[in-house]
Point group: C2
């Protein structure tokens, strides 16, 4: 069971991932909103991964990686460097399996993220707030503990786990015209592309990305890998660059990648809160913002959207902050 | 079809109300949250009326009143004095039926409430911010237009409509031990008591009320009607007094009425936002606050809770306000 780290997940492997994680994840609902349909001229179906365990779709991939661990690996645990939703998801999945998750975080990480990882039982190792120190610290932790590194997105086990979200959509909504997904490192987008190919091949997959972190957009337009440089977007889940495993899947499978302004992200997030009465984080509002900023491809279409997460500091809402104070 | 204004709704009439409003209302979901179960030691089932049309359960009663109007009444429309969720609900139901809703509101009403009623097509008539002027203005409007007054809660059509929320719960959750409902004017509580009697008679109905608007609690304890005096609670939907039609239903049918502090309401509201990723207004958080403040009756019980609404000014969140600045 499970699959090699080096093979693109096939249809059967995504089915197996779904089966493996089913007892642990929430089957999240698909919501609709007639007001937002009216505003966009589209028929929208929102897959509510903000209701997923750990507050984001990340738990799907993390639980696929953790639940698929071999017995020999189990007692050594897992490790990652992340201060975001992947860290929480991996900590929670590890706790469910009764093993340790070592989480490398920069000393500068917001308290709310530190306490979230603590709440889920992750074992935090702080490092200096540079990518090189994060990587060096993670390497050290892995060396000391024998823990298996679980990368947030550049890992086929993660991609296969994230694929389960789109697979569930296609069970609930017959053949939407479009599936619209936010893109950061590309784990969710890659998994969505694979599930679409296997389970709803007529559906077109679009990706939405902040203008201020547009590495996937630039890569797609220029046909070569371009990393994210100093991304300043409020959509903190989408600041990462594509990886070597997500890049080729996306270049082959995405219909288009479209970008959105920061103002549109905040406006879309506020609309979802106000109209749907659900809490989404800025990254999760990027697809709706994308429809407002680029209405053409979506007009009069049935569009499924993955609301990727709902982890927000409720004391710091973007519509109440000073402009420019992105944190 | 329909029933007299003067008869307590029987089982058949509540079934008819459900049938009448079914095409117009949302069948709202029941959500669970393992974190809140762990914190309370109860098994909680949250009926999400914050997802109801108009953002609150009030649309159930309003649509029952409006959809049940006789042809001769139709062209004259409906009227009420309210600045809260009932005003929005009545406006929306009237618009769906293609008739006018006359809404009497104090000039001092917050802009966000005025614009919500405007958005739903209600015809606003402003008055001075006193109960006597509200009543006088409403009487004038009714006289001028022939509109039918639809009281927010002291009306059996409203009570029968609100009863549909509990009736739906009992279809989704077999015989919960307890149904816990917030109480303001008592329309939702009365309807819940009737549905429980007819559809799940072994379930006990408890009511939760803010300490600072404890007229129902005082009435129940003293066995006589005591009106609400200068209520100062943040739970703006629960500041009203019981009515002549809701009082006797509640006195006979409620197992107990328990009160909660303002601090607990804000804390419970924050927990629901943070943990369930859904938006509820302060009034809707009163039942969960009640379990924290009075855990005894609920421990190890299966408790259904009605989350009554989700209409909040997103620019004014209670955990970000100065203490004491209730508006």
């Amino acid at each position: 069971m499970g699959f090699s780290q080096d093979t693109l997940p096939d249809k059967q492997q995504i089915k197996e991932a779904r089966k493996l994680i089913r007892p642990y994840i929430h089957r999240t609902p698909v919501m609709t909103c007639s007001t937002l349909d009216g505003m966009t001229g589209s028929r929208l179906f929102f897959k509510c991964e903000n209701f997923q365990k750990g507050g984001a779709f990340k738990f799907r991939g993390a639980s696929n990686a953790v639940m698929g661990l071999s017995d020999s690996q189990l007692f050594r645990g897992v490790a990652t460097h992340s201060s975001g939703n992947h860290a929480q998801a991996l900590s929670l999945a590890a706790r469910m399996r009764g093993i340790t998750a070592h989480i490398v975080m920069p000393e500068s990480a917001p308290k709310i993220k530190v306490s979230a990882v603590n709440n889920y039982g992750g074992k935090i190792r702080f490092c200096a707030p540079t990518l090189s120190d994060r990587e060096a610290t993670l390497e050290k932790v892995v060396k000391e503990t024998g823990a298996m590194e679980v990368h947030p997105y550049n890992d086929y086990r993660i991609i296969a786990g994230q694929a389960s979200a789109a697979a569930e959509i296609y069970e609930d909504i017959a053949e939407p015209d479009i599936l619209l997904v936010p893109v950061g490192g590309g784990g969710l987008l890659s998994g969505s592309i694979l599930s679409t190919k296997y389970f709803s091949p007529k559906t077109l997959v679009y990706a939405a990305e902040p203008e201020k972190a547009d590495d996937a957009y630039q890569s797609f337009r220029q046909g070569r890998f371009i990393p994210s440089e100093k991304p300043q977007t409020i959509a903190d889940g989408l600041r990462t660059s594509l990886g070597s495993k997500t890049y080729p899947i996306i270049m082959e499978g995405v219909k288009d990648i479209l970008t959105v302004s920061e103002e549109s992200i905040i406006c879309a997030m506020h609309l979802i809160w106000e109209r749907m009465k659900i809490i989404v984080e800025p990254s999760a509002a990027v697809p709706l913002a994308c429809i407002f900023d680029n209405p053409g491809p979506f007009r009069n279409k049935r569009v499924a959207i993955i609301l990727s997460g709902g982890n927000v500091d409720l004391a710091r809402l973007p519509w109440l902050e000073e402009p420019g104070s992105i944190h």
